[in-house]
C-alpha cells in the first residue's frame, strides 16, 4: 500500500505539463471572435504535472482502496459480486464507445439490438410486461416507478391519492423518492419476525393510498411471506405495488416480482447484473411494469419493426403519455452493455443459479457465524441472500459496538458488512456474501469474526481503537462537518 498523501495540486510546478495529450496551442488570432469581456482573466488553477506524475499519483491512490478485486466485500443490500472483466472489454469496444448518443438509428443498429434484447431479457426474468432501461441509478428507477404510479392515478382523475406506504425497514431512498414525486410518506411497522405488520398495513390502506413501496426479500434479509395478502390489501384500496429491486439477486430465477403481484419494479444492474460499483457509481436502474403502466414508461426505449427487423427509438413523440426523459440522452448506456454481456453469458440456467447460490452462501455463512456465538436478528427465519446479526449484547456488556467490529475487520483484510441498517435492529450487521465467493473466502471471514469476538471479550481496546493497519486511523467526522474543508486551498 502506498503512503501517497500529497494532493495532485502539490505535485504541480508552473510550466510542467503532459504536452503529448493536448493539441498545440492556438494563436490569439484564432480566438478573436470571442469577445474580450467573456474571456477568463486568469487561467484556472488546475495542476501542472507530467504524465508520469499523474499516472503514479492515481495508481498509488488506488492501492488505498478495498475492492472486490482485492477483498471479500460482504456489504449487505449492495450485492458486491464479481464484475466480469469480459463485460468491461465488450462495453469498451470502439464502435460502442465512439457512437454519439444522437446518431441516427441507421447508424445505431448494433447498439439498439443489444438494448432491445436486454429489455426482453429483463422482462422475462422479472415477469413484467414492459421494461425501460432509461433510469441512471436505483434511486432514479424508484423515481421513475413512483412517477408512473402518479401518472396512472392522474390519468384516471383519481387525485385523492396523496400517500405512499413504506415499511419502516426500507432504504432511505424510498421515502426520499416519494417526496420527490410529491407524495406524503406513511411508514408501516415490521413485526418481530421481519414481516410487515399486516393488520397495521390494512389499517393504513385507504382512498388516500397511491401505492406501497417494498423490497422482497426485505431489508431484514428475509422473504416477505405474506406478499399475496399485502398485494391484495393495497390493490383492494386502489393503490399500486412498487418493488424495490435492491434484493432481486436473492430470488433471481426462483420467483418473479410480476408473479407476486407487483405493478412496477426497478432493478439495480450494478447489483444483480454484476456491473461495477465504480467507487459509488455509475449504476443503472431499469424499470419494469405491468400492463396498466406500459403507457407511462420513461423514454427512450429500443423498439423493433416487426417486418424489417430494424431497430428504432421509442420516444415521447410516439409515446406521449410517458413520464419523459430522465437524462439528456440514453441513461447510463455503457452500464447497460455490461449488463447485457452478463445476461448473455449466464442465460436461463445462470439466472436460476444466481438466486440459488447466493441464498446458499448466505445461509451457510449465517450458520457458521451463529456457531461461533453471533446473534442473528431473526433466528427462526431462513436467510435470503443476506442476513442480519445484532451485537446489542456485546455493546452493553463490553462497550464494543457494531462500528468497532466493522473497523477491526479491516485489520483482518475483510471489508465490513453494512452497519446500522436497517435502523430498527440495534447494533446490526447486514451481511451479503453473494454467489461469487468461495467457501474458503467465507470461512476466512468467520475466522476473523471469531478472533474479533475473542478480542472483544479479552482485550476490547484492540477492537474499539481499530483499525491499525489502514492508511489512516479513525477519522474525526465531527471536525469534518464542523470545520468544512471541501476544497484544497494553498
Amino acid at each position: 500500500m502506498s503512503n501517497e498523501t500529497t494532493l495532485i495540486f502539490q505535485h504541480s510546478r508552473p510550466g510542467r505539463s503532459a504536452t503529448a495529450q493536448a493539441p498545440k496551442p492556438v494563436s490569439e488570432d484564432q480566438l478573436a471572435a470571442i469577445p474580450a469581456h467573456l474571456r477568463r482573466k486568469q487561467k484556472p488553477g488546475l495542476p501542472e504535472v507530467g504524465e508520469l506524475e499523474v499516472v503514479r499519483h492515481y495508481t498509488n491512490l488506488s492501492t488505498k482502496n478495498f475492492a472486490i478485486d482485492k477483498q471479500f466485500y460482504p456489504l449487505g443490500s449492495c450485492t458486491m459480486k464479481y464484475n466480469p472483466r469480459g463485460a468491461n472489454r465488450a462495453a469498451m469496444l470502439p464502435g460502442f464507445l465512439n457512437r454519439h448518443p444522437l446518431a441516427p438509428a441507421t447508424h445505431s443498429q448494433g447498439y439498439l439490438a443489444c438494448l432491445y434484447e436486454l429489455q426482453d431479457f429483463l422482462k422475462e426474468v422479472t415477469g413484467m410486461k414492459g421494461v425501460s432501461l432509461a433510469p441512471m441509478a436505483g434511486a432514479q428507477g424508484e423515481f421513475a416507478g413512483v412517477a408512473m404510479i402518479r401518472a396512472y392515478h392522474e390519468a384516471r382523475n383519481d387525485d385523492a391519492r396523496t400517500e405512499i406506504l413504506i415499511p419502516e425497514a426500507a432504504h432511505g431512498t424510498n421515502p426520499a423518492t416519494a417526496t420527490m414525486c410529491g407524495y406524503k410518506v406513511r411508514e408501516v411497522p415490521v413485526n418481530k419476525d421481519g414481516d410487515v405488520d399486516l393488520e397495521a398495513l390494512k389499517e393504513a390502506c385507504g382512498p388516500q393510498t397511491a401505492g406501497l413501496m417494498m423490497t422482497n426479500p426485505s431489508t431484514c434479509g428475509v422473504f416477505e411471506r405474506q406478499i399475496e395478502a399485502i398485494s391484495k390489501a393495497v390493490h383492494d384500496a386502489g393503490g399500486l405495488l412498487y418493488y424495490d429491486g435492491a434484493n432481486l439477486n436473492a430470488i433471481l430465477g426462483k420467483v418473479r416480482p410480476g408473479d407476486m403481484g407487483f405493478d412496477v419494479i426497478h432493478m439495480n444492474l450494478h447489483k444483480t447484473f454484476a456491473t461495477p460499483h465504480g467507487g459509488g457509481g455509475p449504476g443503472a436502474g431499469p424499470v419494469g411494469v405491468s400492463q396498466r403502466l406500459l403507457d407511462y414508461l420513461p423514454t427512450p426505449m429500443a423498439g423493433q419493426d416487426e417486418e424489417s427487423g430494424d431497430y428504432h427509438w421509442i420516444d415521447t413523440d410516439t409515446l406521449p403519455t410517458s413520464i419523459g426523459h430522465l437524462s439528456a440522452f440514453m441513461g447510463n448506456a455503457g452500464v447497460l452493455l455490461r449488463a447485457y454481456f452478463y445476461a448473455m453469458v449466464l442465460g436461463r440456467e445462470g439466472m436460476i443459479r444466481v438466486g440459488e447460490y447466493s441464498t446458499l452462501a448466505a445461509n451457510y455463512l449465517l450458520k457458521r457465524l451463529e456457531a461461533i456465538g453471533c446473534q442473528p436478528a431473526y433466528p427462526d427465519r431462513r436467510a435470503s441472500h443476506e442476513f442480519i446479526l445484532t451485537f446489542a449484547k456485546l455493546a452493553k456488556d463490553q462497550h464494543v459496538t457494531a462500528l468497532d467490529i466493522a473497523k477491526r475487520l479491516l485489520d483482518y483484510n475483510q471489508h465490513a458488512p453494512t452497519i446500522y441498517f436497517p435502523l430498527l435492529v440495534p447494533e446490526c450487521f447486514l451481511i451479503e456474501p453473494t454467489e461469487t465467493e468461495t467457501k474458503e473466502a467465507m470461512d476466512d471471514f468467520v475466522d476473523a469474526m471469531e478472533q474479533i469476538l475473542n478480542e472483544a471479550n479479552t482485550d476490547p481496546e484492540t477492537v474499539t481503537q481499530a483499525p491499525f493497519t489502514q492508511p489512516v486511523r479513525r477519522l474525526d467526522d465531527v471536525k469534518a462537518a464542523k470545520e468544512l474543508d471541501l476544497v484544497w486551498g494553498e
Binding site: S17, A22, Q30, I34, L38, R40, P44, L46, P47, E48, V55, L61, K64, N65, A67, K70, N83, A90, R99, H100, A103, P104, H107, Q109, G110, F121, E124, V125, M136, Q140, H171, A176, M180, C181, F223, I227, H277, G278, G280, P282, G324, H325, L326, S327, F329, M330, G347, T359, Y364, R382, K407, L410, F421, E437, T438, K439, Q470, R473, L475, D476
Partner: protein
Amino acid sequence: MPYIPHTEDDVQAMLAAIGADSIEQLFDEIPAHLKAGHALDALPEGRGEMEVTRLMAERAEQDRFALSFIGGGAYAHHIPAAVWEIATRGEYYTAYTPYQAEASQGTLQVIYEYQTLIARLTGMDVSNASVYDGASGLAEAVLMSLRANRKSKSRKVLVPEALNPRYRSACEAIVRNQDVELVSVPFCNDAGQTLVDGLKEHEGQDFAALVISQPNYFGSLEDVDALTDWAHANGLLVIAVVNPTSLALLTPPGEWGAEGEGADIVVGEGQPLGIPLSSGGPYFGFMACTQKHVRQMPGRIIGRTIDLEGKQGFTLTLQAREQHIRRSKATSNICTNQGLAMTAATIYTSLLGPDGLASVAGHCHANTQKLADKLCALDGVERAFTAPVFHEVALTLPQDADSVLARLAEKDILGGLSLAKDFKMKNAILVNATEVHTEGDLDLFVAAMKEVLA
C-alpha cells in the same frame, strides 16, 4: 458455472452446515405456487465469454464508421490513454461507496481533488462529488434554488428557450411533481441570445432563480454579466449551466456580473472531460455552489479532516442532508454519484492542466469557426444567428434540414442536429467541430454537403 466457484463437495459441505437436504429447501418460505418454474424458458441459453464477445464485437462494428459533427451536449474529444487504463483498475472499478473511510482513502482523496478541480474551473467555493448527468443536475439545481433562495417564496424558475431542449425536458420530468413551474424566457431571433430585454416583463414578479446557459444550445455566447446582474437585482439566484471545456477560456460562473458577484449554483455535463461519447453514458453531472448554500446542495460531499493521530484523511461529510439519514426530508433521493466517470475526469483534467485544456478549447472554437466559414461559402448556407459562438454553430440551409441530414448520413457523415422539431427552424442545423476533426474531415463534410445541396 460462470462466475460461481462452488464444487459439488463445497455445496454438500455447505448444505450439511446449514442442515438442509437441498438448495431448493432454502426457498421453503416462498409459497410454492409463486415459483418461476418454466416461466423462464423463453430466456436464451448461456454462452461463453468468447461467443458473447464475438456477438457484441459484430454489433459494435455495425455502428463503427461515421464522421460525426453532432454535439448537442455530448462532444468528441481525444482521451489520453492513461485516463481509462487507470480508472478501470480494479481498485477503482470494483470498490463501492466509501462508507468505510479508512479502507477507501483512494476514492475519497480522488473525490476531494475532483471537488477542488471543479471549484477552480467554475470559480465557485464548493463542489459535490457529482450527480448523474448535466440534465438531471439542472433539475437538482432548480430544486436546490427553491430551498436556497430565502427571499423568495416562489416555486417558479426562469428558463431560457435557448437551453438544450433535452435539459429542459429532463428537468421538467424530474421537477414536475413538486409543483415547480419552469417559465420560458425567449431568445432574440437575430442574435440567437437570451437578452435582458426579454426578462423585463418579469420584473416585480417572484421567481426563485434564473437559469443561464453558457454557451447556449445554439453555441452562442450569452452576455452572462448582464443576465446575472439582472437576476440578482431582482432577487433571483443564478443557476449557471456551463460546458467544462469552455471554462479554460471563458469567464468562470463564479465571476459573472459586472462586479464579479458570480452565479450561485453551477451545473454542467462533465462528459467533455475525458468521458467517451459511449452512446450517452455513463457521463457525470458536476455541481458547484457558493459556500453559503452548501447545506442545500444534494449528493455526496467529501471533507478533509484528521484521524485520531492527527494525520490527514478524507471522509463523507454533511451526511445529514442525505436520504439515508434524513429519509423523506432529504435534499434529494440521490444515493450514488458517478464515481468512475468522475475519477476519469479527475485524471483527464490533471493530465491536461490549464494550458492543455485551453488548447483543446481553442482548437474546438477555431475548428468550428473554420467549419462554419467553409460551409457558409456554399450557396444558400449561412449562419442562423449573429452572436459569437464557442464550439457549436447554427446554420440555415437552402433546403429542409431533416432531409439534408438524412442524405448526408447515407454518405456516412453525421452532419449535426436538426433544429426543425425543437425550434421550428425547418431549414436549420446545429454543427460542432472539436480538436479531433482534421482539416481533411472538415473538407469531406463540406464536399458532401455541396453534393447533397446540388
